[in-house]
């Protein structure tokens, strides 16, 4: 979107919805079911955020990422994270090259991070050193190798997956890196109907192919439009309250949070929450962010940013359960303000 764009706002918002719908439809020609996963992943991409997909093997996480890259007509790279994977395997390395004339010079060989869409498969299998190599790329949009900073392609998304079952030989992602992920999406098991359709589709002789429906520039336009969508002071304050309430020492914290949470979400969670809520509002055709938008995106934004204590693990509680309780409390409190 440019400032010279004279198209009415309603039209631009309708285009936004249309493009998002088209992208979603294109992906869902290949990815059966997983509506919410697809929707949230696309929302994160529109917002310019990275996504951590968590689910058991075989649920189509990799397929989803590949499909997104194909539908967007973007450069896609995949890295299978293993314990022996080195940072240079991700970022790239500088090679001493012989030009055939007896001259030698250094040449940078870019790693898989130099792509629009990077799939970090089973990211928790790599060592923390390798995981950390992604930090700068994810946050700053460039990497520094051999003392030289190199910008990444735009748009740039990291879509990482991790398997929650096989914990042996894994390295849980450090909190700082978890915070870089815009959403953490739990990929659910497909329903029976979806499963049947998956079998039908994947065992047929011909497989559907995804057509690119959007370019990277169009995605950036969508991002710009969503970012300009206004959020009023009350909504901002509510987002702040929501994030602050995840801290056990906050006056807004629920008794469960005070008991089970060790650390709450960072301010980056508030940014992600509002950015995601704007996209939610735009998808709903609204010209402002509503409280419901905040609530609808709060769980994927906050679940990986809250660090539970030992008591929560002992009681079998996870962040989702605590967040559901928190959101119910917020909804009640906001409704009370209107009484």
């Amino acid at each position: 979107m440019s400032h010279e764009d004279t198209t009415p706002l309603e039209t631009r918002l309708a285009n936004f919805q249309h493009r998002f719908g088209a992208l979603r439809s294109a992906i869902q020609t290949v990815v059966i079911g997983q509506d919410e996963t697809v929707r949230l992943t696309l929302m994160a991409m529109v917002a310019g955020g990275h996504v951590l997909l968590e689910g058991v093997p075989g649920l189509g996480k990799t397929l989803l990422v590949k499909s997104i890259a194909a539908a967007l007509h973007l450069r896609f790279q995949r890295v299978q994270f293993t314990p022996d994977l080195m940072p240079s395997d991700v970022l790239g390395t500088t090679l001493l090259v012989d030009d055939g004339h007896g001259h030698h010079h250094f040449r940078f060989e870019p790693g898989p991070v130099f792509a629009n869409v990077l799939l970090g498969d089973e990211i928790n299998r790599a060592t923390p050193k390798t995981q950390s190599a992604l930090l700068e790329a994810m946050q700053e949009g460039h990497v520094t190798v051999g003392g030289e900073t190199r910008p990444l392609l735009q748009p740039f998304f990291v879509l990482a997956t991790q398997n929650p079952l096989e914990m042996e030989g894994t390295y849980p992602l450090p909190e700082a890196q978890m915070d870089r992920f815009f959403f953490q999406i739990i990929v659910p098991y497909p329903t029976e109907d979806e499963f049947s359709r998956i079998l039908e589709l994947t065992t047929a002789a011909t497989k559907p192919e995804i057509q690119a429906v959007m370019t990277g520039e169009e995605l950036l336009e969508m991002r710009a439009l969503a970012a300009s969508l206004p959020a009023t002071e009350t909504i901002r304050n509510r987002a702040v309250r929501l994030v602050m309430a995840t801290h056990p020492d906050s006056p807004h914290a629920t008794p469960e949070i005070k008991r089970y949470v060790r650390y709450g979400a960072s301010p980056r969670a508030g940014q992600a929450c509002l950015a995601a809520a704007k996209i939610s509002a735009a998808l709903a055709g609204r010209f402002h962010v509503s409280s419901q938008d905040l609530l609808s995106v709060a769980i994927p934004v906050l679940r990986h940013r809250m660090i539970m204590n030992f008591e929560a693990q002992a009681d079998g509680l996870n962040a989702d359960r605590i967040l559901h309780s928190l959101l119910a409390g917020c909804e009640t409190a906001w409704a009370k303000e209107a009484e």
Partner: protein, 526 residues
């Protein structure tokens, strides 16, 4: 300026929503604000009315169950209107408090079912400078509002009306009950004042009685004793109960001391023995009988009469000649041992006279006369002592009565000093009469029955006529008009005795008098 038009009546349509011309202006939420204000008034009037009703009920219960003091009744009288004023101020406070645009917008969004559209519009001028977004938001809100067929309907709930009515009823009941309490307290106060006045009057009567007694009595010791009452009067005038009680205690101690000294000198213990000895002399029987009854005044009078008789020449016979002198000597010895030397001397003299003339069996009058003089003097002296003792006893009973009245207790009217003293009508013999009714005989009814009995045959010779009249006429008088008259008189006399303010000192006498003069037949009236 954009405006919302809502209906609170039966037509619930929301008519229009217009965007403001000036995008930097604040949306006009006037109508929404009115609705919000009215809604808050209705909502908060419920707890206010409940609180007021409960408070009024509690006040009423307190007024009904407990007899309150005047200050409490006054406080409740003030609290009833104060509760209404407080409730009014509270509701007025809600009505006058201007709700913020944000508050109004939040409530309107919720009532109409919008997704924070009005809230965002209310905050746009401060947060969103872009007219483009705001314009689009107005257009969308307008479409949504037009599509809604909801209203912001505010009604005064029936429960509020019920509690309002209950509060009004309780207030009226409270005023009525408290008025009753007020009248009760006023009556009690008047009764208390009347009792105090009566007690003061009774005390004044006793003090006046003492003062009058002091003026009239010739007994210097009693005069001095009751003259001390001036200290008591002074204490009462100064309304100093402690000083009054002290003065009364001192006076009572003096009276008790007087009584003790009189009791020690009294010849009561010897009266019977002396009377028995004197009976032996002829002509001393009446004096002896009076002495045996310890009526020393009568004994003195008889002794005076005897003196006149003994002035005539002659002699007086003696019975029991042998033992008489010894009996008199013993009594003289006893009197001497009790410290009454004058009595001892008189009796010794008489004993010696009896001894000298024992052989003859009679005593010459000229010898007996000095002895009679001595006895007369002793009896007069004893009579005076008895009178003083009686005055002291009356004074003590008056002091007891005065003490009881000052404490606010009811007690019987004590006898009067003046009336009991020998210097006034009635004198020392007042109330001692035994012949008939001291206040006169009851009034008898006129004869009302007359019957004749005739014997023989009509027209043949003389016939015997027996006439009988009923003396009391009770049965006849009880019938007809007389019965009504008696009832009327009975009622009037009872009412007079009950209602009239009678002087305390004479109350019993006057009441007894009125009761005595009632018709005897009154108890026989069916």
């Amino acid at each position: 300026m954009g405006c919302f038009e809502f209906s609170t009546g039966k037509d619930p349509s929301i008519k229009s929503l217009e965007a403001p011309n000036d995008m930097n202006s604040v949306p006009d939420f006037t109508w929404l604000r009115k609705q919000r204000t009215w809604e808050k008034v209705v909502r908060w009037s419920w707890p206010v009315l409940v609180g007021m009703t409960v408070s009024l009920a509690a006040l009423l219960a307190v007024g009904v169950v407990w007899p309150l003091k005047q200050s409490a009744v006054l406080a409740i009288f003030v609290m009833i209107p104060a509760l209404w004023i407080l409730a009014g101020l509270l509701i007025l406070g809600f009505a006058l408090r201007k709700p913020s645009d944000s508050e109004v917008a939040k409530r309107a969004d919720r009532v109409i079912g919008l997704d924070d559209d009005l809230l965002s519009l209310s905050e746009y001028p401060d947060t969103i400078p872009s007219a483009e977004w705001r314009d689009a938001a107005w257009r969308r809100a307008s479409e949504l509002v037009a599509a809604r067929k909801q209203t912001w309907k505010v009604e005064f709930p029936r429960r509020n009306i019920v509690f309002l009515g209950a509060a009004v009823c309780l207030s009226i009941a409270g005023v009525v009950v408290m008025t009753g309490q007020w009248n009760r307290i006023a009556g009690q106060k008047a009764e208390l004042v009347a009792k105090q006045a009566e007690r003061a009057e009774a005390a004044e009567e006793i003090l006046e009685d003492w003062e009058e007694f002091v003026e009239t009595t010739e007994d210097q010791e009693l005069k001095q004793l009751f003259a001390d009452a001036s200290a008591l009067r002074q204490a009462l005038d100064q309304e100093d109960p402690m000083a009054a009680m002290l003065a009364m205690n001192q006076m009572e101690a003096k009276l008790s001391s007087l009584q003790e000294s009189l009791s020690a000198q009294s010849m009561d213990a010897q009266a019977a023995g002396i009377a028995e000895a004197l009976e032996a002399f002829e002509g001393m029987g009446a004096m002896s009988a009076a002495l045996r009854n310890q009526n020393y005044e009568a004994a003195a009078a008889e002794a005076e009469k005897l003196q006149k008789e003994l002035a005539k020449p002659g002699s007086t016979n003696m019975r029991r000649k042998e033992a008489l002198a010894e009996m008199l000597a013993n009594e003289a010895q006893t009197a001497k041992s009790r410290g009454n030397s004058s009595l001892s001397d008189a009796l010794s003299k008489l004993s010696e006279t009896a001894q000298r003339n024992s052989q003859k069996g009679s005593v010459p009058n000229e010898e007996l006369q000095p002895c009679a003089n001595g006895l007369c003097e002793q009896f007069s002296k004893e009579s005076t002592m008895k009178a003083r003792g009686r005055m002291a006893a009356i004074g003590k009973s008056q002091l007891d009565a005065l003490r009881s009245r000052l404490r606010g207790e009811e007690c019987e009217a004590p006898p009067s000093l003046c009336q009991s003293s020998g210097n006034n009508p009635g004198g020392q013999q007042a109330g001692k009469g035994t012949d008939g009714q001291p206040l006169g005989d009851p009034t008898e009814l006129a004869q009302a029955s007359h019957s004749e009995k005739v014997t023989g045959v009509l027209g043949e010779g003389e016939s015997e006529v027996t006439v009988s009249s009923t003396n009391s006429g009770t049965s006849a008088a009880a019938g007809g008009a007389t019965k009504a008259d008696i009832s009327e008189y009975f009622d009037l006399s009872q009412k007079a005795v009950a209602d009239e303010a009678l002087p305390l000192a004479h109350r019993r006498t006057i009441r007894t008098y009125f009761e005595r003069i009632r018709p005897v037949a009154e108890t026989q009236i069916p």
